[in-house]
């Protein structure tokens, strides 16, 4: 029995050693987004995110292994009578595009999230679970690249409606939520 106790102890110590998968966790980081709007006639707005300004990210950047869970949250208001499918795009380099056409011409653009449908003349608060499903594979990869490298942690987000169709919406109380896998 003594020999068994030593085996368990040694195994336990090995698993608890720094760098082991046991000494890890999932840390949630919320980025508040400014209110922004998208209008097919007057243009789109953007917000540039610098992960390096977030203390939780700074503290865990070197230990970051993966992105575990993602969500875009907020209240979406459709000011048009027609339903709108909102998509969130990012440019991996900071940018200041003022309309959808110039965003789509940007070689660093990646569709991050969506579409999220909002009926005409309504405000809809997105459900976290629904939002988590709307991230694209390419978007997750681009975000992970920004968070973990080789990206520099700075990128720009845009919300746009469907190409070629009229739209007029705004987003308030917005947030980008990242859950990162970190070694401890």
């Amino acid at each position: 029995m003594k020999r068994h106790a030593w085996m368990v102890l040694v195994l336990g110590m090995g698993l608890a050693a720094p760098g082991c998968i046991l000494t890890s966790g999932q840390i949630q980081i919320d980025f508040a987004l400014p209110n922004f709007s998208g209008n097919s006639l007057t243009g789109i707005e953007h917000t540039t995110i610098d992960l390096n300004t977030e203390k939780e990210y700074q503290d865990n950047k070197e230990k970051l292994k993966d992105l575990s869970d993602l969500a875009v949250l907020g209240k979406f208001t459709n000011s048009s009578t027609n339903p709108v499918n909102v998509e969130v795009w990012m440019t991996t380099d900071p940018s200041t595009h003022l309309d959808e056409a110039s965003l789509m011409a940007d070689p660093t653009k990646v569709k991050l999230w969506g579409p999220f449908q909002v009926a005409g003349n309504t405000t809809k608060t997105i459900d976290w679970n629904v939002s988590a499903q709307l991230f694209t594979t390419a978007g997750k990869a681009a975000l992970l690249s920004e968070a973990k490298g080789p990206g520099d942690g700075t990128f720009t987000l845009y919300a746009v409606g469907p190409a070629g169709l009229p739209y007029n919406f705004s987003v308030s109380n917005g947030a980008l939520v990242l859950v990162i896998d970190v070694g401890i």
Binding site: M1, H4, A5, V8, L11, G12, L15, I21, L22, S24, G25, Q26, I27, Q28, I29, D30, A32, L33, K55, E56, D59, N60, K65, D66, S68, D69, A71, L73, G74, K75, T125, D127, W128, N129, V130, S131, A132, Q133, L134, F135, N173, G174, A175, V177, V179, D181, V182, G183, I184
Partner: protein, 191 residues
């Protein structure tokens, strides 16, 4: 997956091999209890030690202890778990993130016999496959269990015990971890 099947097969082979040398004790048991996520989806800026543990979930399942050799009991198991939703206010709006639903199966390697009498203790290690699912997220990876069981009651056919366990689902270089406390009852099919 292949590795797990091989391990289970290996356990069965050992059990059947030993059966030729002596009687094999086979039992069937049910268990249920609590399971709590550890260090999952925490916010470090406002972190306090109690935040290391998420909302309590429940777990239940079946175990099949096979005592074939003197020092080790092989215990194939199947377990289900359900974790509570998490509510959080972000940007002034209240949101709910669904908790995981879990399913796992595998085999525990118990040092000694799990069906001893009052305060009979037995450590164990386990390996299996664990699937954790919630909307927009699925983890289907190898899981590991480490625990300690304590017997509470044992008769010729029945045994009752409790277990404390750390379960870990390996996700690449990191893991999702859960601590659990379960109570179980076992019925001996063969002596």
């Amino acid at each position: 997956m292949k590795r797990l099947l091989l391990l289970t097969l290996f356990a069965w082979l050992l059990a059947s091999g030993a059966a030729q040398a002596g009687p094999v004790g086979v039992s069937v048991g049910v268990f249920g209890g609590l399971s709590v996520p550890v260090l999952q989806d925490v916010t470090t800026s406002s972190f306090s030690p109690s935040d290391a543990f998420g909302a309590t979930g429940s777990t239940w399942g079946l175990r099949f202890p096979i005592h074939a050799i003197s020092s080790i009991t092989f215990e194939p198991y199947y377990a289900k778990s359900r974790y509570k939703d998490r509510e959080e206010t972000i940007g002034g709006v209240a949101y709910t993130r669904e908790g995981f639903d879990g399913k796992s199966y595998g085999v525990n390697f118990i040092l000694g016999h799990p069906e001893g009498g009052l305060f009979h203790m037995y450590p164990y290690l386990g390996i299996g496959k664990t699937k954790l699912e919630r909307t927009g997220q699925e983890i289907n990876k190898t899981g590991y269990n480490f625990g300690l069981g304590v017997g509470l009651f044992s008769s010729q056919k029945m045994a009752v015990g409790v277990r404390g366990e750390l379960s870990m689902v390996a996700t690449g270089d990191t893991s999702r971890k859960f601590v659990g406390a379960t109570a179980g009852i076992t019925y001996r099919l063969t002596p």
